[in-house]
Symmetry: C2
Subunit: 698 residues, 2 copies
């Protein structure tokens, strides 16, 4: 966006009010008293003066400069005001007024009118139904939130909810958390979260973006924009509405297990967006992401003056996927040199209650110097003999110059305010509990990981016949299941092996089919009445010649009719011999927001119960592939486990990549499910034993 939402030379408040109880007064007040350095103009059809300025009765009267308008008047009057802005040459508008789509069809029609007007004049519009935006560094405050405004800081906050925006702003004040920019997005009739994400990321004062999300306007575009942002700055999102979507009826296991939430998870993973579970967590992470150097590894040292907090910290670090560092002998020696004999010089380092500010500084220096330590958690139950503030002063210079992150757990309330202030002013992330400090370190680590992973390119498999697949799909009916032969041909066009075999209805046919397929083959009775083929003598393996195939056909019919008298026998299936192997499920579905999603995991009929599955966006990247395999037992087991021999992991990767490409290339495909995909011994490939393909509804 080139519109000057964050760099206006002049702001017009349409609906500025002289009544201090009105929100239209609040906007005027915040602009003027908030220190905005540009021109501020007021418009209200009543006229008069406000805060030492004239109130114009028409937008047309407003003098230059005027390039951003904030509208807060009753909904029915907004279209005319917007039109007037267009005429006046204003290209950026915030519509704060409510009474649009959120109130029903009539409001929605009014909102559509706004969009039409904005498009006609080449204007961009934030809102309607929002509380505007705020930049603490310019400064610029177009909201009506009660003063003082938020502290200046390095965290940007975007929100689909105005109430959350207001509540978080107020709450953050007490946390000593400053913001760079705040944006309340409202109904997003024009400007969406995706537009705003990139705009805000360009702000040099913003070091981390946080985002309260209720949905997404264009899934794939969001992923692309967010990926670009993440390459430069961390993005943390709290996505709510998990339980609103519910589960839809689905034809396949893949469809039943997919849904809006797994799609968001997959999208955030691809984009490198950190997904927070609560608003509090978003800012526990945000504080560290804004202020700390990267955490290059998982090995954390804990420095404390008491046992209990050290144990708590160790638990919390491990629970957050980090590790307790093993300290080097040199570090242990350094610690021993100044600590009492009863101190614990191993991680967690417990310096005992007698630890002085100097001890904290010496201990911290030793831990930061240890090459086996990637980051440090400094825990400070106030030492009984010293002030916590003195410990803060002694440690801040070390933390500020360290290339490794140090986070602080400052435990308590009345004994720590001085220390809290020192650390906050020095931009050192401090928390009340070791558990929060551990979460913060984990966020630093995961940002490093996700930033790298999100830079990966999509994998496009070679030797796919896109045209053949397209023509096969063109011939199929919308919203239907493909036949076995169409399915085999479709998957075959993308290089996925589907040894379904064919049904013989006579000994001669069995022999000739076997010859076509290639020896050895397996022969299997086809009968709805014989569930256990093997027990009934309905199975022959390793059939090696046309003659044996013909003989086998006869023998199977004979044995089965004996074993299950009266069973309906539909023929004998002639299949290529597939060796033993591990069986997994692989599928794709199409998410309405994010498009094709790949699923992988433990298959069989129990897939929905075991839920050992994982999802990724199609086409896949290398980290997506590794995630699918590493996050499921089905994937980990491919390496072999106890008496289970290893299987061809490379073949699974290949099938997943091809399946993903097939779905990405052909929007006519609604769902594909391979269940099972039999994975043979390493080097022997994988075979899609049962596949269902559903085409999209028109």
């Amino acid at each position: 966006m080139n519109q000057p939402f964050f760099s206006p030379r002049g702001v017009v408040v349409i609906g500025a009010s002289r009544d201090p109880e009105k929100l239209g007064y609040g906007i005027a007040r915040n602009l003027v008293q908030g220190g905005y350095p540009g021109a501020v103009h007021f418009v209200n059809r009543k006229g008069g003066r406000l805060l030492g300025r004239p109130i114009y009765t028409e937008v047309a009267q407003v003098p230059d400069p005027a390039d951003l308008a904030v509208i807060l008047i009753p909904a029915p009057y907004v279209p005319a005001a917007l039109e007037a802005c267009g005429e006046r040459g204003i290209r950026a508008v915030i519509v704060a007024s409510g009474g649009f789509r959120e109130t029903g069809p009539q409001g929605a029609a009014l909102e559509a009118q706004l969009v039409e007007i904005a498009r006609r004049y080449g204007m961009r519009m934030i809102g309607p139904n929002c509380i505007g935006l705020l930049d603490t560094h310019l400064p610029l405050d177009t909201t009506f939130l009660p003063p003082p405004g938020p502290l200046a800081g390095e965290i940007a906050f975007l929100s689909h909810s105005g109430a959350i925006c207001a509540a978080i702003t107020d709450w953050a004040y007490g946390q000593g958390l400053g913001f760079s920019r705040l944006v309340s997005l409202g109904n997003q009739a024009d400007v969406t979260e995706t537009d705003m994400l990139s705009s805000v990321a360009d702000d040099p004062h913003t070091r981390v973006l946080t985002f309260y999300m209720e949905g997404v306007s264009d899934g794939r575009r969001f992923v692309e924009q967010a990926r670009r942002v993440v390459s430069r700055k961390p993005v943390v999102a709290l996505k709510v509405g998990r339980y609103e979507s519910g589960q839809k009826a689905a034809a396949s296991h893949t469809g039943a297990l997919a849904g809006s939430e797994v799609a968001f998870d997959a999208a955030f993973r691809r984009a490198g967006v950190l997904r927070a579970e609560t608003a509090e967590q978003m800012f526990i992470w945000g504080r560290a992401l804004a202020w700390s150097p990267p955490l290059q590894g998982k090995r954390i040292a804990v420095l404390t003056n008491a046992g209990g907090p050290g144990v708590t910290a160790a638990d919390a670090l491990e629970a957050n996927g980090l590790q307790m560092a093993s300290l080097s002998p040199q570090t242990a020696e350094t610690l021993r040199s100044f600590l009492p004999p009863a101190a614990n010089i191993h991680n967690p380092v417990d310096m005992l209650a007698s630890a002085s500010p100097e001890d904290y500084a010496r201990g911290l220096r030793a831990l930061l110097a240890d090459p086996g330590v990637d980051g440090v958690m400094l825990i400070l139950p106030p030492p009984p003999m010293f002030s916590a503030g003195a410990v803060a002063k002694a440690t801040i210079p070390l933390i500020q110059t360290a290339e490794k992150p140090v986070v602080v757990a400052l435990m308590g309330e009345r004994l720590i305010p001085e220390a809290v202030q020192h650390y906050r002013s020095a931009r050192v992330p401090e928390y009340r509990f070791p558990e929060q400090a551990a979460e913060a370190l984990a966020a630093l680590y995961r940002y490093g990981e996700m930033r790298e992973e999100s830079a990966a390119r999509e994998i496009h498999p070679p030797d796919v016949d896109k045209e053949k697949a397209a023509s096969l799909l063109a011939d199929s009916a919308p919203g239907s299941w493909l036949s076995p032969s169409e399915t085999a041909a479709l998957l075959g066009a993308y290089g996925i092996r589907t040894p379904f075999g064919e049904i013989a209805h006579s000994p001669q046919e069995a022999a000739s089919l076997a010859e076509q397929i290639g020896f050895p083959v397996a022969l299997k009775i086809v009968s709805p009445d014989v569930p256990h083929k093997s027990d009934a003598g309905g199975l022959l393996l390793g059939v090696a010649s046309p003659e044996d195939a013909a003989r086998g056909y006869r023998r199977i019919l004979e044995r089965v009719s004996q074993a299950v008298p009266g069973a309906a026998l539909e023929g004998v299936l002639v299949q290529p011999m597939i060796g033993d192997g591990q069986e997994v499920i692989a599928g794709v579905v199409r998410d309405p927001q994010f498009g094709p999603l790949v699923m992988f995991g433990s298959g069989g009929v129990e897939v929905e119960g075991l839920k050992d599955v994982s999802f990724a966006l199609a086409p896949l990247t290398e980290p997506d592939l590794e995630h699918l395999l590493a996050s499921t037992w089905a994937g980990r087991k491919l390496a072999g486990f106890r008496s289970i021999p290893p299987a061809d992991r490379g073949a699974v990767r290949d099938v997943l990549v091809r399946l993903a490409q097939l779905a990405a290339d052909h929007p006519q495909i609604a769902e594909i499910e391979i269940n099972p995909l039999r994975v043979l011994l390493p080097g022997q490939g994988a075979a899609a034993l049962d596949v269902r393909v559903k085409t999209a509804e028109m």
Copy 2:
């Protein structure tokens, strides 16, 4: 304990110091200035006066009344001081001094000396290495924590860590959280957490017990005491040290999957103790448990003035296992009668930003009156036009008289302090975020559930032959695996069916074994070289007569020698025919703290990878049994799933109860693992197809 730890008539401080920098001064100060109504005496070999009182140089000189002593002198002098207390007739002692077991073997020896002295005089001792105890209602403060002491309240806090006790006390002040009693347990040389739990529970001012735990001194006794407490008052525990224990090498899957943490989970479940994940969570729960009426069901209504917080609340409630209530038509009508048309009168009820304090009160009254609502979350992003304090005043009378719990999410910081104060004074649980409020409601619900479940009796199965099992075990070597026949006999003595069968080495033997077992039987080749018995012709099912068994023996040998030339053939296994069924795992292990634990879940070789298992203490209760079955896919699947037919759930319950009793009755059993237990169709039972029993080391 009859010792007067919480009701002393006189307290002696041994090591009272005149130096305000010393901790021995802090104890004297807190006792005198804290308002303790009994006598306070000081002892210090230096003599002199302190806080208007004489300092005696010997304990023997202290006048009556004196029934509690607090000792804070260097460790080497503690035994003599303790001895002097015993001579003086003091029966309750707190040893605050450090320098004992926590410092190494020498300290441990000194600690053992203390225990010996205490036993000799019939004294009970808290500590050493603790910060003492505190009762805000008596009041009594034997700690050296800096004043003012904690607020008086209804929450008791026990802690294995003194530093955590100090930090939590300080932190809680800022949260407006009051305590009834605080106990720092230290090294627990004599008085343990289990002793203290019951003592503190008897305090009429205490409405909920919270507990920072680093371990347990006697697991089964703890469970018994905690169960009794839970029947009257909720207990919340934060158990740390999760990652210290690590995984031990284990012979069975059950052993590999068990460990200290699952044992604590099982013990807490049996006792009805709520297990918190973090200290913060313990008090989020504690506040609601102390102040709210019981939550009788899961159906929660949300009342708010904005959309975003309502969505967040709905997510959080569902994530915490609660449900969004469906409001009755009457409730909807009442809400519609006073709310604007654009308000949402369905749950979450969004009254819009214009909602007044009266609207909040009317809305709350309507929701509380709805029979489909079990509890309410009231969310208060401060309404722009009204003060949050006014909303608090309008709603408090309703909340205080309601029989259903109401928790409040008061979002923000600068706009809410008045409301916070009102709610806290009125003992209404208030939180900053809907997520925390949802956690609080969930804790209320779970306490109700766990209280009921923990009252359940242990199930003792009929028809077990304890003597027979004992004599079988008496004959077995310690630390060894039982033979198949011993195993079958042991399980048989407890009524668990183990159709292992027996190996025939001739056609005649096959016939006679088949006759013993009863027809029909299955015949299976026994050979290490024939993994796929069926493919090689090594399997015969449904053998119905002695003649067929002898013929079958010959036929199997013949077919297998043809199919796998040169295979070593060890005989033919004659087994009773076991029908098809679901296969699960059932096992027991012995935990060093809590004794026998039962495991149930998905079996096979993949059990350690799938981790679909659950644990409970043996013997089992009805809620334990239901937990084992409901918390695992293996258990849920017994009801049938898609093409999987239902299985004999009752038989699984029976096997679990019998297995649990077997392990509970015989400490010589270290581990039993049934893998698989095949569960037949409903009414047809379950069979332990493969069982391993290991005896305990001596």
